[in-house]
Subunit: 294 residues, 2 copies
Amino acid sequence: MFDNSSVMINHLTIIGIGLIGGSFARAMRISGLVNRISGSGRNRDNLDKALQLGVIDDYSVDIKEAVKDADLIFIAAPVGSMQNILGQIKGHIKKNTIITDGGSTKANVIAAAETVFDELPVNFVPGHPIAGTENSGVESSFATLYQDHRVILTPSDYTDSKALETVSILWKAAGAQVVLMEARHHDQVLAATSHLPHLLAFSLVNTLTTLDEKQEIFENAAGGFRDFTRIASSDPSMWQDICMANKEALIEHLDHFTEDLNQLRSALEKGDGETLKQIFVRAKQSRDDFVDKN
Amino acid sequence: MFDNSSVMINHLTIIGIGLIGGSFARAMRISGLVNRISGSGRNRDNLDKALQLGVIDDYSVDIKEAVKDADLIFIAAPVGSMQNILGQIKGHIKKNTIITDGGSTKANVIAAAETVFDELPVNFVPGHPIAGTENSGVESSFATLYQDHRVILTPSDYTDSKALETVSILWKAAGAQVVLMEARHHDQVLAATSHLPHLLAFSLVNTLTTLDEKQEIFENAAGGFRDFTRIASSDPSMWQDICMANKEALIEHLDHFTEDLNQLRSALEKGDGETLKQIFVRAKQSRDDFVDKN
């Protein structure tokens, strides 16, 4: 379905040159499939930094200006800002310009596009690269961020197949594995595997900061704690946004988790070590399998 | 207080030659402070492996035999087996033999020692090295495991100061930082920083394995999930043991966590993004501070 040989993007505009947008720009630069990379965003200092680093060729803080000649637009911005950005793009792009995004939730981005354009544009390819670090900003970006990572695209039945193919080819050129998924299903899966873990990590660290022994607790934490809480060092605004954008699926998984945790608590209170062990064994088995395969 | 110059242990016996015991043995070998290192444990294959690897000089599966000439005994066994092991040691050691352990909980190990010996032996120095990986077994052991890690010792008012000093010197020789703490306080702090995170990680992975989308969930998990769940690959029996041994403190922290998580859930449901963000910001700040200092 995807032919790697025929794509050449004359002008790529990336809105939001942070970890995600910057890493995509760097990968596209190396791929040789893009002639010119423009940036846009709210923060001029950041765009200047991106320019200095050679991540982009030029920029405009005016989104309308930045997208007017673009052949492909990648919106790498918080999901809560998508509607506003799409609203600024509308009416200022060429007829066949392809739009894609890197938002961590998909149903609400699609809803935003439908609101702005009345219907989902056929050249809009919603996407989500399953990659990232706890760091943010263009300084943290690197060309191999997407190497061997999945990128989930959630086209609708009406999405133009050529647009889908083009976006897929670019992601593959960045080293990613492209997977197609229904948008709501994507949100359900990611709530479990990403949004809930982030919520739990933020919540646990917050709880510990409220304790009297706070100081000692952090002093006596070891590598396990460091890894477990790594995602609690992620960008708070971004995660507020994601949790809000996907709150139904997130609450559903959270309730499931809490219910299971309560059973674990009961077993603990009753001194039922066998139940604890069964749960721990099953968890270890699943995690070891997951790590072996990834 | 601790003078590094004067200790020389003629015969060290380690009961349990896994990650913790094996790494201690390797570090002691390098330190030059120990002449002979004997091992003991239930699993002869494992002891043979430790012998082949040069981790120990000799072993006996009979604990009584292994400890009879020992000058210092390090019990690196699951906390649930401490009472049984101490029972086997009793009456078979020299008068001044120092006993220490590496158990992850301290109050119940002290209670076990009191039960076995009627009162806490003055030469018993309860300890807990805050180090480890998700791996277990002597193959996973390495001499620098304790380098720059904390070892918490929880002596009582009656603990012999020379015994405490000797154990401290050995841990420092292994590169560790020795910290003294009251046993119950240790258990409270570790419940927050280690036992609760393990419980949550095991519980989350277990919950995900019960979902219909299980396969897809694990396929689409990324680095954040891998780190967050690393501790769910830990040894289930060991963690069953630890959770049971420290269940009061663990339940207390768990309830505190669940209460805070419920508030987060309410905020989410009400669409109160500001509360979410405040919690996320505080968590990120604490974790970043912790990482900067460690």
